[in-house]
Structure formats: structure tokens, C-alpha cells
Symmetry: C2
Subunit: 328 residues, 2 copies
């Protein structure tokens, strides 16, 4: 492996000089030597050892990304947004899938500490492992987790309460009277807030709040399917607000199997506006999360926290109703 020392020898200079040239700190290097060095670097195909550099400068130009599961379209789109934004700033991304298991989150945090990442972005864990997160030695940005935490932790949140409110109000406006709800556990922060938003809308509109119309499971197709069967078989409903699009897809499947027509018999609103939602049958009315923007805001906050040690530590984004066939 070629080292900076070898390059220096070939150029007849010291490694300090090569280092300066390579890092653009070469205001005081004669252009003759600069050119000579650059030529040799080129010829030799020299690639600096980033590990040695990191050890010295105490920065790895790497972030960690902790999410439940890349396989979930919402998180894969998020990962993409974050990777893009990071890459644009010269940072790489270490991918960590927790599958919602608390101890995996802890393990990954430990690994990221050893790897000396410059920061991490964490999206969702059911359990509030805040003590662990607060002890970590690098800046962290939390996604969609609107809770009180130490001041060294950034937050990007999308107004889930508002999203739930808008979704429900839309269903009511197009004529629904008995609105069901299928979502993940209420221990899950985003679910909880969307649920609250729904309740607020219901109260405001003077619609009945019937807990038999609500089904709680996971953010999965299966939960959507099972929830739909359960609610629709026992109750008389004309609309369902689903906690995310994946659940909505499962619910639509279940309802179709039972012979219901969407949207004629039952109208469906999802949440997230993932990529496929406009391609399913019928195209899904949903609450669009500004996924890409969540990602870039998260990276931006992280950068702020790293460099400027800023106290601009929280961003709030607004979701948006997208009306398609499933509820119009």
C-alpha cells in the first residue's frame, strides 16, 4: 500500500508538505512542488488512508442511520433522502436495522460509538430508550419522536396530530359517519398522535367515538388485513383511517375479499404517501409526509450541531392531504 511517506520520498519532500497539498492547505507551497506532488499522486494512484486521517483529526465523515427496517417503503425512502443529503456534504452512512427491538438499538449505538461516527439519525423505537441516547458521545437527531430530551439531541417532527385530524376531517367531509381506525400500537409515538388528531376531529364534528371501530397492531399489511376483517365484519362502517399506507393496502385487500367496493361502500385514507400508493387499486388517498425533506432537515440539523454547536435543534414539518380514488 502506498503511503503519504512514500509519495513524499518520490517527490523529494516531507510528508507534511504532501499532506498540505492534499488538503488544500497549500497557500504557502510553491506551485512547482505542488504540481510535482500532484503528478506523483496521480501516477501512483495514491489513496489516503482515511482511518489514519480520522484518528488524527477526530472525525470520520460518517453518520449512523438507525431505523426499524429498510424494507418498509417509508424508511427506505427516508434512508434515500438521508443518504443523498449526507453524501452531498461528504458524509457516508452506516445502515442499522433494529426491527423494533430495543436492545438492537442499544447495540448499534455502541457500535457507532466505537466506529466514532460524527453523528446519528434515529427513527423510531417503540420504547423510549432516552437514557441510553442521552449518554452517547456524538450528536443525535431523533425523527418523529416529540418528547422532551436533553439539549444535545435534535428533533425533526412531522405534525402527526394534525395529519390525523386532516385525514379524519376529509373522510367526514365526503360523507362518512362511522369512521374506523387501524394503526399500530398507541405506545408508538406517531401512531398515538395521529390517533389523537382523529379524536379531535371526531369531537369537533360531533361524530360518535366508538372504540369498537379501532384496531391496533403493527405497521404491517397483515395488521391492515386483519383489522379490516375484524372491524367490518362486526361493525357497520363507511370509512377507515389507516395509520399508514401499508396498513391501508392490507385493509383494502381484506375489504375487497369481503365483497366491499372501495370507495363506494367504504372509503379509505392512508398515511405516508409511499411510492406505490398511487398505483394500487384504487389509488390511495393519503396524508403525504415530506419524506425527502425530513431527511435533509435531519442532516442539516446534525451538521448544525456538529459545527456550529447551534441551539437550532428542532424542526417541525407539516404533512399534507393527497386526494385520490380511495376517498374522494
Amino acid at each position: 500500500m502506498t503511503t503519504i511517506k512514500e509519495i513524499a520520498q518520490m517527490a523529494g519532500v516531507s510528508s507534511a508538505t504532501v499532506s498540505k497539498v492534499l488538503n488544500g492547505k497549500d497557500k504557502s507551497i510553491s506551485s512547482a512542488t505542488r504540481e510535482r506532488i500532484l503528478r506523483i499522486v496521480e501516477e501512483q494512484g495514491y489513496i489516503p488512508n482515511g482511518i489514519a486521517k480520522s484518528l488524527r483529526i477526530k472525525s470520520t465523515k460518517t453518520f449512523g442511520l438507525i431505523i426499524p427496517n429498510v424494507t418498509n417503503p417509508f424508511f427506505s425512502e427516508l434512508a434515500k433522502g438521508i443518504e443523498d443529503a449526507s453524501e452531498a456534504e461528504g458524509y457516508s452512512l452506516i445502515l442499522c436495522n433494529t426491527y423494533g427491538k430495543d436492545n438492537r438499538e442499544k447495540q448499534y449505538l455502541r457500535i457507532l460509538e466505537e466506529k466514532k461516527v460524527d453523528g446519528a439519525i434515529i427513527a423510531a423505537s417503540t420504547k423510549e430508550d432516552i437514557e441510553v441516547i442521552e449518554r452517547v458521545s456524538f450528536p443525535i437527531v431523533l425523527l418523529d419522536r416529540d418528547i422532551e430530551v436533553g439539549s444535545n439531541i435534535g428533533k425533526v417532527i412531522v405534525d402527526n396530530e394534525y395529519g390525523g385530524y386532516v385525514a379524519t376531517k376529509h373522510l367526514a367531509q365526503i360523507g362518512c359517519k362511522r369512521i374506523g381506525h387501524i394503526t399500530s400500537s398507541l405506545k408508538d409515538n406517531p401512531s398515538n398522535n395521529r390517533y389523537k388528531g382523529m379524536l379531535r376531529a371526531l369531537e369537533e364534528l360531533d361524530l360518535e367515538i366508538d372504540h369498537n371501530l379501532y384496531h391496533f397492531g403493527k405497521f404491517s399489511i397483515d395488521t391492515g388485513y386483519e383489522g379490516a376483517l375484524e372491524i367490518a365484519s362486526k361493525q357497520n362502517i363507511d370509512g377507515i383511517f389507516c395509520g399508514n399506507d401499508i396498513i391501508a393496502i392490507g385493509a383494502i385487500n381484506g375489504l375487497k375479499e369481503m365483497g366491499y367496493k372501495i370507495p363506494n361502500d367504504i372509503k379509505i385514507v392512508g398515511y405516508d404517501d409511499i411510492y406505490i400508493s398511487k398505483y394500487i387499486d384504487p389509488p390511495l388517498t393519503t396524508i403525504r409526509q415530506p419524506i425527502y425533506s425530513i431527511g435533509s432537515n435531519a442532516v442539516d440539523l446534525l451538521l448544525n450541531m456538529i459545527t456550529k454547536n447551534g441551539k437550532d435543534i428542532k424542526r417541525k414539518l407539516i404533512p399534507q392531504l393527497v386526494i385520490r380514488e380511495s376517498a374522494k
Copy 2:
């Protein structure tokens, strides 16, 4: 930041001793000192600096994963499989999205060299940038790219020719006479082989090969949609073999819009068997790729190449027909 030296001081030993204990090379350390060290490590919440360690041992316990786009369900499932397998072996994963741009692949390779990853897994780029790949200093496993390369490059391939053959034969067996095909560019290795498999089946069955029935674009929903419109509007077809499930979803959308009934009028076979394929309407008949197995095989090969310097450098997997409503 606590260092190994500080821990050593507190324990009244040398850092060498602490290092041995921490790395399980402590056969010759008295259990008294071992315990004392471990206790102090615990008390101090000491976390070793992995960068310093990596510099010394010349291994980062990190792999790179280069894919076109995590947002594509096939790749997100692949990423998950690879992350799982890597994590199980104590390796982290750096995620790299190329969006199919050749220069991004090159850039990422460069970054991974600087970051001194222990290996990388590369899934697909249209252009064969093999020269670049062959110059890289760490072991690489190529996915789904059955081309001749240097002996320091591993390969995991799924028999795409066979997959295309099986898909086409199935369509013929259930009565299709005029079979269309929508896929990405034939410069794309997997597409090309699936296409060849289709042609082989067609010849074998003595079915007409009409190039007006074939549409080439990208592995995207839009290509599926446009391809379906184009082929079905001008030609009389009764079946379409789609290069992947995403394309199939787009095609089904287009065909429905044109008033065709699936599978009654036109039968559809996809490729990949991504997560949602069984939930779309109608559920998709497709060629299932052993995605998870691709991931674990890739990691396994990489490990082989790293440790055993083995010449077991190629794995071939077989895809499998999954019959659902869209073509049965």
C-alpha cells in the same frame, strides 16, 4: 474521552494488559487483574476507539454495499438480507446509492477505499466498469452480473436465463399465444438473460417471436405503464412477461385503464416476488428470487475471500415460479 491508557492507570497496569483482557487474549492474565480491569472498564463506561484499533489491526469490520436505489423494493430487501448477515458476523454496512450512474459507482468505490472497508458488495450497474472494480484493493462480490472478471472478484448470480424461460413457458402452458415483454434495457445483464430465456422458451414451443411485442425502458413503474399502453394498443396480445414486479405493477395499471381484465384478457407474469406482489390486484404471478439467500451468500463469499483467501468464488442460485391470480 477515556482511553485505554487511563483505564490502565486506574487499574495500576499497563495498557497492553488492558488490551489483552479486552480482546480475550487473556489466557495468561491473572483473574484478579482481569476482574479489576473489567470492573473499572464497566464503571467508567469505557468504549474502545475503533478507529485506532482499525488503524493498528488493518481491519475496519465494515463492508460497503453499492446498489442503484434502496427505494426499489428488490434492493431494500437485498440490503436487509445483507445487513442481517453482516451484522451477525460483526460487520457494519455503509450504504451507497448510485442511481445507476456510473461515475457515482466509481466515486463510492473511492470513498470505500479511503474508509478502508474490508470488502464490498456491488449490485448492478448498467455499464461494465470492471476495470475500476478490478483495481480496488479490497475483495468484492458482484451480484447478478455473470461476466468474466479477475479472480479476486466473487459472484453471486441467480439464473436469469432460466427464470425468463420458466416465466414464458408458464404463460404458454396456460394458453397464451402472443406473449409480450416489457423490461429494462438489454444492456442490463439480468434483463438480457431473462430476455434470452424467454426467446429460448418461445422457440422451443414454436411460438412466434414478434419484436413489436417487446418494450425496453427502465426497471420502473412508468416503463411498465407505458410499455403496456404501447404494446396493447397496437398489438393483439394475451400475455406479458415483465422484467420485474415493479414493471408488472405499472403494466397492470395501464391495462386496467385500457379496459382489459387481468387475467382474463391478458395474463401477467412478473419477476422478483417483492413484498407487495401478493397484495396487488390481482395478486401477481412471478419468478421468485431468493433475495435473502442472495444476501447471505454474498456475505459468506466475502468472508471466504477475506479470511481463507478461498477460491470458492462463485455461487449460482435458482429462481422459482410462484403462481398467483394474474396468470394461472
